[in-house]
């Protein structure tokens, strides 16, 4: 089950839980806001991704099905 992490930059307040829970794909910039790796999340990493999504206090993170992301 693979997906792509999408961040809503307006909802995001820079709490930073996502980077703690999923450091493999999310790191924080110099001001504490997440930089999300756009590569698809597959296999074992998916559970970490889902936890980061569910723990975000602002519901700013979403995991979209990979099928939604069409490469041109």
């Amino acid at each position: 089950m693979s997906g792509v992490l999408r961040l809503d930059p307006i909802a995001c307040d820079g709490h930073g839980l996502c980077a703690e829970l999923f450091p493999e794909r999310i790191r924080l910039d110099d001001w504490g806001f997440p930089i999300v790796d756009p590569a698809p999340v597959t296999g074992d990493l998916a559970a970490h991704a889902r936890r980061a999504v569910s723990q975000c206090p602002k519901l700013a993170l979403r995991l979209e099905r990979a099928a939604k992301v069409a490469s041109s």
Partner: protein
């Protein structure tokens, strides 16, 4: 659209001027009669989208998106669409849309009505800055002329929007038109899918629609007689800085910067660089500037500033960077914090701080791009990063000695302070 002759009866404009053709030297708008005498009756080809596609017209609001593709995307949506003419022109260094509204509003209105018919809209809204008082009055007169002749089958409304750099961003503009704060929204959905009142919305820059009005009358081959194969047609450029004839000029796309400066009477003093594309654009050193061809990809909204060598670019870049940071809609962390940090760094460099590192500013510029709900941080990052690349000697002087051999001077136009 009135049922006049199927073919325009008049000779089309040559390569130049086109949008600026027929503009008198007095400060008044072309009347409807004069407009129809100069350009012929408004002509609606049965497949305008295909005609616009063949012409290769691209948007003139800054993004340079192919206009036919945008029209087709809106036309393909379910539900009745609406057209919004973006004449907000929040870029301080740009005056081209105001010139069109001031002198040639009928061309913009023709384009709006034609585009509406092509996408199946019955309403067009023209969004103008609340501060553009003369332009609003000229537009209202032109709209009244058309109404009294029952010229258009599309209802046209004028809406004022607040002044501001971000107000012209499509989704922010639609919010402003709806009476809400002019802040961008997250996409998707895009305006073409869900815009004003949830309807599919065609947002088009005023100048783009003016070109469209001429393409509809004179055809794609005519349009392509100016410009190049890859960059067909003409464009309006707002020229300022150290040049003899400042103001709005019309050029063929593909014109070099050197040709543009010559067309405007030449530079008035030695220049160090040219800012191409306004405050979301790029600084180009004078040595490379001469041969640079102006195309939608680098023109942005068409503001070009000839920067005099006597002026301190670091101080000016700091002033504009601070303005851009202040114009952030304030919704996204990387934009709010990043642009503030970059402006602070440039102000430090300009003012003599020794601990500011140009490499860190460049890293920050790379860090904010692509991370907001709109392209504000991207544009600001491009402006700053290109400045850092274009003025390495001046930056070194500032870092080492706290100043350079140039003078601080107000070259880049900014609006008067709006906020307390």
């Amino acid at each position: 659209m009135s049922a006049l002759a199927a073919q325009p009866m008049l000779a089309p404009p040559g390569r130049l001027p086109r949008l600026l053709a027929g503009i008198q030297h007095e400060d008044r708008a072309i009347s409807l009669d004069a407009h129809l005498r100069r350009f012929g009756p408004p002509h609606a080809p049965h497949d305008l989208i295909a005609v616009v596609d063949a012409a290769g017209l691209r948007g003139r609001g800054g993004a340079g998106f192919p206009t036919a593709r945008k029209l087709a995307a809106v036309a393909a949506q379910r539900g009745r669409p609406i057209v919004v003419v973006n004449a907000a022109e929040g870029e301080p260094a740009s005056g081209k849309d105001k010139v069109l509204l001031r002198f040639n509003p009928h061309l913009v209105l023709d384009g709006a009505v034609l585009a509406a018919a092509a996408v199946g809209a019955k309403q067009a809204v023209v969004a103008v800055s609340v501060e553009a008082v003369t332009e609003r009055a000229r537009l209202e007169s032109a709209m009244a002329e058309r109404r009294s002749r029952r010229l258009d089958r599309v209802g046209v409304k004028l809406v004022t929007v607040p002044e501001g750099f971000v107000t012209g961003e499509e989704s922010a503009l639609l919010r402003a038109v709806a009476g809400k704060p002019a802040r961008p929204t997250t996409k998707p959905p895009y305006p073409f899918q869900q815009g004003l009142d949830g309807k599919p919305t065609l947002v088009q820059n005023a100048e783009t629609l003016a070109h469209l009005a001429l393409v509809a009358r004179f055809g794609p081959q005519w349009f392509r007689e100016a410009g190049t194969d890859e960059a067909p047609g003409t464009a309006l450029v707002t020229l300022s800085g150290a040049v003899a004839r400042r103001g709005v000029h019309e050029i063929e796309l593909g014109t070099t910067l050197e040709e543009l400066l010559q067309q405007a009477g030449g530079v008035t003093e030695a220049i160090s660089a040219v800012l191409v594309g306004g405050y979301f654009g790029s600084w180009v050193r004078a040595e490379e500037a001469a041969s640079l061809r102006l195309v939608p990809g680098n023109l942005g909204a068409g503001a070009v500033i000839a920067f005099p060598a006597s002026a301190c670019a670091v101080a000016e870049a700091a002033r504009v960077a601070r303005y851009l940071a202040g114009e952030s809609a304030g919704q996204c962390g990387p934009c709010v914090h990043g642009l503030d940090a970059i402006a602070g760094g440039l102000e430090g460099l300009a003012g003599g701080a020794h601990d500011v590192d140009a490499a860190r500013l460049e890293r920050w510029a790379g860090m904010v791009a692509g991370r907001g709900a709109c392209r504000h941080p991207d544009g600001a990052a491009r402006f700053v990063a290109s400045m850092l690349r274009a003025f390495p000697d001046e930056l070194r002087q500032h870092a080492r000695h706290g100043r350079c051999s140039r003078q601080p001077a107000r070259i880049l136009p900014l609006p008067k302070e709006r906020r307390g």
